[in-house]
């Protein structure tokens, strides 16, 4: 996949030099050319997260998590909720929180697969983020327009003023290049914003 060669910022947090070096090697194997940050303690990591512009890909080894794995991870998530995170851990450590993990004893192909997916998933989110046609609020307004509501009704339903509704509608039409209500309805259905069955109710 072409996009895998994009440069991204990766943090490898581990006290263990062999792990750090190993991760770097694996990254080059799966075609990631990272801008790397090595950190050796959890405090160092937190500092870095506060300074760096997002997004950082975090690869954490269990050894820097101060024995209290779950709590430390939730602290990290609090600082930077958008950073994708993967944890390298001993297979005996069990984790309740829903995070990606690689066990130390996993074999080559499993590890490669997990790391590749780790970078790929974020990538898809990225590309979506880069071209949002409508904002969430505009989508809300569009749905109501498509269902045939008048401006006043939309304003009441979404707790905004009529002028705001009009502004949203103007922006929607400009962005989409679609002026008629029928056209907007088709657009909303193409994108599954509204269900044609429900729309008729």
């Amino acid at each position: 996949m072409k996009t895998n060669y994009r440069i991204r910022k990766v943090v490898i947090a581990s006290n263990n030099y062999i792990y750090t070096l190993g991760i770097k090697t694996i990254l080059s194997v799966i075609g990631i050319k990272p801008e790397l940050f090595d950190v050796e303690s959890i405090d160092e990591l937190k500092e870095l997260l506060k300074e760096q512009a997002l997004p950082l890909f975090l690869i954490l080894n269990e050894d820097i998590l101060n024995n209290n794995v779950e709590q430390t991870i939730s602290e990290i998530k609090k600082i930077s909720p958008d950073c994708p995170l993967i944890l390298l851990k001993n297979s005996q450590t069990s984790i309740k929180a829903n995070i990606k993990c690689i066990n130390h004893n996993e074999n080559q192909s499993e590890i490669l697969k997990k790391l590749t997916n780790f970078f790929k998933e974020k990538n898809q989110k990225d590309s979506k983020k880069n071209q949002p046609i409508l904002s969430d609020r505009e989508k809300d307004v569009l749905k109501e327009v498509a269902l045939g509501l008048a401006n006043k009704e939309i304003a009441d339903k979404l707790f905004i003023s009529i002028n705001t509704v009009i502004t949203h509608r103007k922006n929607i039409t400009e962005k989409l290049g679609i002026k008629t209500i029928a056209g907007l309805t088709v657009y909303a259905m193409l994108n599954n914003y509204i269900d044609p069955e429900k729309g008729n109710l």
Partner: protein, 251 residues
């Protein structure tokens, strides 16, 4: 914008088509058929009994959208303008719309199942447009144009009967002008739905042809609407005013 060369009565009809193939349907509307050799437009029109100056004005205004001879077109009899407009109505309803419909139908048959729903949506949208266009054109053919012809006849006779007088007072061309909504807006939406938002379809060629035909229809309707709004309606307004004057002078 570069000014386009305008055609004159001595232009060869074949050259005109070579220069601007979009004029093919326009020429067809005048009842001219191919096989005219090297004849000029004047010769062809004379043979067919067509008013060559009128045909030229239409051809030139279509050829160059910056050239729009409102004044000189207004000098032609309303009957001539209406005949032309009626023949374009026929062309839309009997030729162009079915053609576009056929492309959409074919696409509907040839898309992947996951895209079927989307083409069906487009089809529904186009059907709505079709119905609106049909109603609009029918209203013109059955009500607006006959009214204009009545006015034209009254002008020729130089007198106006009570019925027409009432009609001018209560339901003049201004009413029609106000309700003359833009038929192209929906077509433009359809274009954007296809260009910007339709997920890729298997039948690329069909989709491309569909789009091209929509563009052509749109351009044609635009020219048509121009003639109605900028030539026919002002002309009728003028005639209405004159007829009312005639009536008042008589009383």
């Amino acid at each position: 914008m570069k000014k386009k060369l305008l055609f004159n009565p001595k232009s060869r009809l074949a050259d005109i088509i070579h220069l601007d193939y979009r004029l093919i349907p326009v020429i067809g509307r005048f009842g001219i058929e191919f096989g005219f050799g090297n004849k000029t437009i004047k010769e062809v029109c004379n043979n067919k009994g067509i008013n060559v100056w009128f045909a030229l004005e239409i051809i030139n205004s279509y050829h160059d959208s910056n050239y729009f001879p409102k004044k000189s077109l207004q000098n032609f009899p309303a009957k001539l303008i209406i005949e032309y407009l009626s023949s374009t109505h026929n062309y839309y309803l009997k030729v162009k719309i079915p053609e576009i419909q056929e492309y959409i139908d074919k696409m509907e048959q040839n898309v992947k199942p996951e895209n079927h729903k989307n083409i069906t949506l487009l089809n529904g949208f186009f059907n709505e447009y079709k119905e609106e266009l049909r109603l609009h054109l029918e209203n013109e053919d059955q009500h607006v144009f006959p009214y204009i012809l009545d006015i034209d006849n009254a002008m020729i006779r130089g007198e106006i009967d009570d019925e027409l007088y009432k009609k001018i007072l209560t339901d003049s061309i201004e009413n029609y002008e106000r309700s003359h909504d833009d038929a192209e807006v929906k077509l433009n939406d359809l274009k954007n739905l296809i260009i910007k938002f339709l997920p890729p379809v298997l039948c690329k060629e069909l989709c491309q042809n569909l789009l091209i035909e929509i563009f052509r229809l749109e351009a044609d309707i635009k020219n048509h609407t121009n003639i109605e709004d900028k030539v026919l309606i002002p002309k009728v307004k003028l005639m209405e005013k004159k007829l009312l004057e005639i009536r008042e002078n008589k009383l």
